[in-house]
């Protein structure tokens, strides 16, 4: 027989728990839900847009009655549970209805706080919490003109904005001098007030309400100093209190909320609680995302899986008033042990403040330009040491040459038809629509539904901003590393460590040892595991072709029409008339439609049929050319300028050095693509300062630069060190490359890797630790013994199976 689960509270946290539970254990329980409101489950966050007339109730429903029916859930709408009989495991509703339970889930949410003053129960005094409140306000806005909103916090300002949009004259009354003082400091609060005043909102503050005036209906508000304001609608929006009355009455331990442990269990082991009603590690939460995190953990335990833990969340806040961009997170006031960096431009309506302690971000407030909110929030969450980039921290992550979203960095200023994601052509309106209509709450959900920010990621900050402006806040789980992919809970670093320590030699062995959830992984983990294994055991590991992306399996780049492109290696960008003739002959012979010079100083043959690849390679091999690995997570090119051999400014033989470096490093597999360059003088014609490893020759030697990137996010290199001989360049280059190969995560380029581990760390390993450097160098040289085999020659000579290149069968008729 199925166990019985009863949910009290038909809101977002409770129902999300049921959804998570149905995903992992659909048959486990008979489920009964009690909700005090006469509706299905709706998105409470979006009540503000309903009030402002931007959305209807239907548009914010998350689960209609049909959903409950479809999942076999008994729904008691509009029935308030008044008693929990824990001894007999039974809940009793006000109308006498009862339900037995094996497990009980409390998600009773929170109640608006009512200011304890005379007249607070007069008709025309409302709170802002549910659909009924919104209906009352909308009705009042049609009949009446003057509204007073008590409370200048997030909720109060959203209510005031909505009522103003409905045509009312609105005054916000606030007890302190600063609006939203829990989220904003004085300066940002003043900017917010100014722009709301420009839109016609009135403020009366600081002011303490002592009475609501009126007889049959509210007529005004009186303050402590004796002054009065006329009002025919008063909205109380001074805060919410966790609703734990029922739990407390039933003898469950409560403090400021229902006290739960890391599994969301209350002091009664049969009873769990989630959402705004709970107190976890002393914290209560009001934003939606942490509640969903709790829901996931709770479902895991209700399903008796028993391994998930909720460890608290960090939250950030965003005001949902159209056209106002505001962000805050963490401790943004600071104290004498902390420092602050401030940027203020009042006439442009811009303000940014970052609070630091020991070079780690403790909090941030931003007004006007909030695009970097998500970045600061991440740095704060991860506890990143910002000293390396502290001098430009204030200007944000994206101040340098970000491509792909038209220089837009203010979501609020964008119209619905403006493009956010330049890779996938996704407009702001499409994201807003998906978030509201499909009920999305996380970046990953938005990525999979809309594809926005799922390709190059340059618009991630913008997408997060749009999400925050719709959902009212960002959030993040307590700092933790992400698992390698959905097939496992282990992180990249865990997996690599295990491969080395357990001497695992196949993908299958890794998956078995680490208890992969899927039988043979997915397109994310298999290529990563293949790389980690071959990097760890270059001599022993047998490469698994089926775990490589097609480009690395076919040793050519797949194009949109299913043909391939072929790029032969040109050492240091040098070629000869014979090579060029051979390329021309190949292009003619195989009717290759496009021949193009690449950015890496070589020639690309585009539109080659897959069956022709081995023959094309055979012809190129005969002229002495090998694979350029233009398709791989591997060493790509070494770009050079002509240097001292020809150039009147050249200080060293940059071309010759480039050729030597390319001969040394070609064929090596990497976590991601890897590009090098050698410039013969500081004029830097080879653009060495946007490469993964760049050499700039100077009269006295060679500057070595690392971690540059010329793609989506332009990043200039950091200077690693200066050396004086070519032999040293070789040694440092190999050691750096090997460190990157061994320690960066799969698909992490050198730029983000260096930002993650810190330039100092890389310098320490490659420059300061001489013994370590030589060991890295030797491991690279050893690994190259197995890697430097031309994959084209192997296939052109049929030394490798041909099944990749020929059809299984040609069927003439059918």
């Amino acid at each position: 027989m199925k166990e019985k689960l009863v949910l009290i509270g038909n809101g977002m946290a409770g129902v999300r728990t049921l959804e998570e539970l149905l995903k992992i254990a659909p048959e486990k329980y008979d489920i009964t839900v009690f909700g005090a409101e006469p509706y299905g489950n709706y998105n409470r966050i979006l009540l503000s847009p309903v009030l402002a007339g931007e959305k209807t109730i239907d548009q914010i429903m998350l689960n209609d009655r049909q959903w409950y029916a479809d999942n076999g859930i008994t729904l008691h709408c509009g029935k308030e549970v008044v008693r929990i009989d824990r001894r007999n495991r039974k809940v009793i509703a006000a109308d006498g209805a009862t339900a037995d339970y094996d497990h009980l889930l409390l998600a009773t949410g929170s109640n608006p706080f009512i200011v304890p003053v005379p007249g607070n129960d007069l008709p025309g005094v409302v709170t802002f919490r549910d659909i009924r409140d919104v209906d009352l306000m909308l009705e009042a806005s049609r009949k009446h003109q003057h509204a007073v909103v008590i409370g200048g916090g997030l909720l109060g300002l959203e209510a005031a904005n909505g009522l103003m949009r409905q045509g009312m004259s609105v005054t916000v009354v606030h007890i302190t001098e600063t609006l939203m003082e829990r989220q904003l400091d004085k300066a940002a609060g003043a900017l917010l007030r100014k722009s709301l005043e420009e839109r016609g909102m009135h403020f009366y503050m600081p002011a303490q309400t002592v009475a609501i005036l009126g007889e049959d209906r509210v007529r005004g508000v009186r303050f402590k100093d004796g002054s009065e304001l006329y009002a025919d609608l008063v909205v109380m929006a001074v805060g919410i209190r966790p609703n734990f009355e029922l739990a407390k009455k039933s003898g469950i331990h409560c403090e400021r909320g229902i006290v739960v442990n890391d599994t969301m269990q209350t002091y009664d082991p049969r009873i769990y609680a989630v959402g705004e009603c709970v107190q976890h590690r002393g914290q209560t939460y009001g934003l939606v995302a942490p509640l969903f995190e709790q829901a996931k953990v709770c479902a895991n335990h209700l399903a008796h899986l028993g391994y998930a833990r909720y460890q608290g969340s960090m939250t950030s806040t965003k005001l949902k008033v159209t056209g106002i961009d505001l962000f805050s997170a963490g401790d943004f006031i600071g104290d004498e042990t902390m420092e602050e960096i401030v940027l203020k431009d009042a006439s442009r309506g811009m303000y940014k403040k970052i609070v630091l302690k020991d070079n780690r971000i403790q909090g941030a407030v931003m007004y006007g330009d909030t695009v970097d909110g998500a970045w600061y929030f991440q740095l704060m969450r991860d506890g990143t040491d910002v000293s390396a980039f502290r001098d430009h921290l204030m200007f944000g992550e994206a101040h340098l040459g970000d491509a792909g979203h038209g220089g837009q960095n203010k979501a609020a200023a964008m119209s619905d038809d403006m493009e956010v994601c330049g890779c996938n052509g996704v407009c702001k309106g499409a994201i807003v629509k998906a978030v509201t209509e499909k009920g999305l709450f996380t970046l990953d959900e938005v990525r999979s539904h809309t594809k926005a920010s799922s390709s190059c990621g340059s618009c991630t900050g913008l997408v997060e901003q749009i999400m925050a402006s719709v959902l009212g806040g960002g959030y993040s789980a307590a700092p933790k590393e992400k698992p390698l992919c959905k097939c496992t809970d282990h992180t990249h670093d865990d997996v690599r460590k295990t491969i080395r320590e357990q001497h695992l030699l196949s993908i299958d062995a890794v998956m078995r040892f680490l208890e992969w959830r899927t039988p043979n992984g997915c397109h994310s983990c298999r290529p990563a595991l293949n790389y980690y294994l071959l990097c760890a055991w270059p001599a022993e590991y047998k490469d698994d072709a089926q775990s490589r992306f097609i480009n690395e399996r076919a040793h050519a780049n797949i194009q949109k029409d299913g043909t391939y492109s072929v790029v032969p290696r040109m050492w240091g960008g040098l070629t000869t008339p014979d090579e060029l003739r051979a390329i021309a002959d190949v292009a003619d012979k195989f009717k290759i439609p496009t021949v193009k010079v690449t950015g890496g100083q070589r020639i690309d043959l585009l539109g080659v049929k897959k069956e022709d690849l081995p023959a094309v390679w055979g012809d190129l091999n005969k002229a002495g050319m090998v694979s350029g690995h233009a398709y791989g997570k591997s060493l790509r090119t070494v770009k050079t300028c002509v240097g001292s051999e020809w150039c009147r400014f050249g200080t060293q033989d940059s071309t010759g050095l480039g050729v030597k470096l390319e001969r040394r490093t070609w064929g090596s597999w990497m976590p991601h693509k890897f590009k090098m360059a050698v410039s013969g003088c500081p004029r830097n014609c080879a653009e060495a300062t946007i490469k993964d490893f760049g050499v700039v020759c100077v009269d006295s030697g060679y500057e070595l630069h690392i971690g540059g990137n010329g793609g989506v996010k332009v990043r200039a290199t950091d200077l690693l060190c200066k050396v004086t001989t070519e032999a040293e360049v070789d040694e440092y280059c190999c050691a750096f490359t090997q460190l990157y190969r061994e320690e960066a995560r799969y698909l992490e380029r050198t730029a983000p890797w260096i930002e993650r581990v810190g330039l100092e760390y890389v310098k320490q390993r490659v420059v300061e630790d001489e013994v370590g450097r030589k060991a890295l160098y030797n491991r690279f040289i050893e690994s190259q013994k197995y890697a430097q085999v031309d994959p084209w020659a192997e296939r052109a000579s049929h030394a490798v199976e041909q099944h990749e290149f020929v059809p299984l069968k040609k069927v003439a008729a059918g």
């Binding site: 999979s448 039988p519 043979n520 997915c522 097609i550 797949i558 299984l808 040609k810 059918g814």
Partner: protein, 111 residues
């Protein structure tokens, strides 16, 4: 009557891999899973027509090499939230010999 066409042996296809059969109806991708099950799909992703035969096979699914859509091998339906489907063909293995019928199967469960 179904006309079964012999297209090769199961070991001609690598495990967790695919091969192509050229036909007058266009290319058909023939997949082999880790458990030696065999499936046949029209070799075009419902998204932008990418050649599914070139994708990474995992479980009973293949990931399109162009934009990472994931397609079910059993029925050709795209894994949610992506929407779309690609045609399937009847296929069977007897004594290690694979036979294919050139009859596009209407997609059963997709709208």
């Amino acid at each position: 009557m179904t006309d079964w066409i012999e297209i090769g042996k199961i070991e001609d296809i690598p495990r967790l891999g695919a091969r192509v059969v050229n036909t007058v109806q266009g290319d058909i991708a023939v997949f082999r899973t880790a458990e030696d099950e065999v499936f046949a799909l029209h070799d075009a992703c419902p998204h932008k027509g990418g050649p599914l035969s070139q994708g990474i096979v995992h479980g009973k699914r293949v990931t399109c090499p162009l934009h990472n859509w994931v397609i079910e091998l059993t029925d050709g339906i795209a894994v949610a939230p992506d929407e779309g489907h690609t045609a399937c063909y009847p296929i069977k293995v007897e004594n290690g010999v694979i036979r294919l019928a050139l009859q596009r199967q209407p997609c059963s469960s997709a709208a």
